[in-house]
């Protein structure tokens, strides 16, 4: 057990170290001279999905296509385009799929609505349970005869 745990810990450490090393845009040759522009390009790149690896942004991916898209983003930023224009350029070619934050449409309504649905559903469940608990009637006070019988039983038990 302990061995499994330490192996797991080691794996975690390695994985985090590796993912740090795998940050693709460490290469100075890829970066823009102007740090402000480079920061903007990075922000844009983080919003764009790498279409090869799919669960990484193009900023994090080593894939060839991601590198090409990073270069395109930087070229367009350097040309003086706004963030919106650069995003539109890529969106125009690869559709909604390339956006890591998909737009709200009928097709994505369930996706975006899920947190509200989940929290709302939970709240409703709690409300229903609490109301039912509150609905349990308070026991009526004991009558004279019942009290006498209870005393008798307690007496008997105490003896």
């Amino acid at each position: 057990m302990r061995r499994t745990l330490s192996a797991l810990a080691l794996a975690l450490v390695l994985a985090s170290g590796l993912s740090g090393a795998a940050r693709a845009v460490g290469l100075p040759s890829e970066m823009l001279r102007d740090p402000a522009q480079e920061a903007r390009a990075r922000e844009i790149g983080r919003e764009l999905r790498c279409l090869v690896c799919q669960n990484q942004s193009i900023e994090d991916s080593e894939a060839d296509l991601a590198r090409d898209l990073r270069r395109i983003v930087r070229e367009r930023v350097a040309m003086g385009e706004s963030d919106r224009q650069v995003m539109d350029y890529v969106h125009d070619r690869y559709g909604d799929f390339v956006l890591l934050r998909p737009p709200v449409t009928w097709a994505t309504a369930l996706l975006w609505g899920m947190p509200v649905l989940a929290v709302g559903g939970g709240a409703l469940a709690i409300l229903l349970v609490r109301r039912r608990r509150g609905a349990v009637p308070e026991a009526p006070p004991l009558s004279e005869a019942e009290r006498a019988r209870l005393a008798a039983l307690e007496d008997e038990a105490g003896r």
Partner: protein
């Protein structure tokens, strides 16, 4: 009665989820559902303007003009000599070419010598061949991997896109009906 219905609700949810998963697994099995597939943004739109150098030296460049006002729909195929699925789909392309279908090839991020050697070995199904070494035109088309095939109708509108190799099934079930519909 009301309460009994409420008790059945979780069962209903599980049944619905199960049906959903079953449909997904079936789709994965027969290839109609691909969770990693990137839908093409080019469908129903005209092919983007481009100009690419020909693979053969001295041949004229390939431009979007080659895809306008055609006597029949054409297939545009992005491929590379280093791409293994391209070998898998090659016999299907050869078959279409023998039947007279026009296929235009765009050689993606490849060395011309390697591309020529590939065609010498496996045959050349392409009416015209261009090279896209930087891969920029491929990005304009929304290509995210080779091979990728596009069916262009006679007006130059993209009607169909297939990411991945053209298998015999894709040829029979998708390409042939499309060729007939857009003839």
């Amino acid at each position: 009665m009301n309460r009994r219905l409420l008790m059945l609700a979780p069962l209903g949810l599980v049944a619905a989820g199960g049906a959903g998963f079953y449909a997904m697994l079936r789709g994965l099995g027969d290839g109609s559902y691909d969770p990693r597939g990137v839908p093409s943004a080019l469908l129903g739109r005209a092919t983007p303007a481009f100009s690419l150098p020909a693979l053969e030296e001295g041949a004229p460049p390939l431009t979007e003009a080659a895809l306008r006002g055609l006597p029949a729909p054409v297939l545009v195929n992005f491929w590379a000599s280093w791409c293994v699925p391209c070998i898998v789909e090659h016999p299907q392309l050869m078959r279409l070419a023998r039947e007279g279908v026009t296929i235009l090839g765009i050689n993606y991020k490849d060395r011309p010598a390697d591309a020529r050697a590939f065609l010498q070995r496996h045959g050349n199904p392409f009416r015209q061949l261009a090279q896209d070494a930087p891969g920029r035109v491929a990005i304009d088309w929304g290509v995210y991997g080779v091979p990728e095939s596009y069916l262009i109708d006679r007006q130059g509108i993209v009607r169909w896109r297939w990411p991945g190799p053209v298998t015999p099934e894709v040829l029979e079930q998708d390409i042939r009906p499309l060729l007939r519909r857009h003839a």
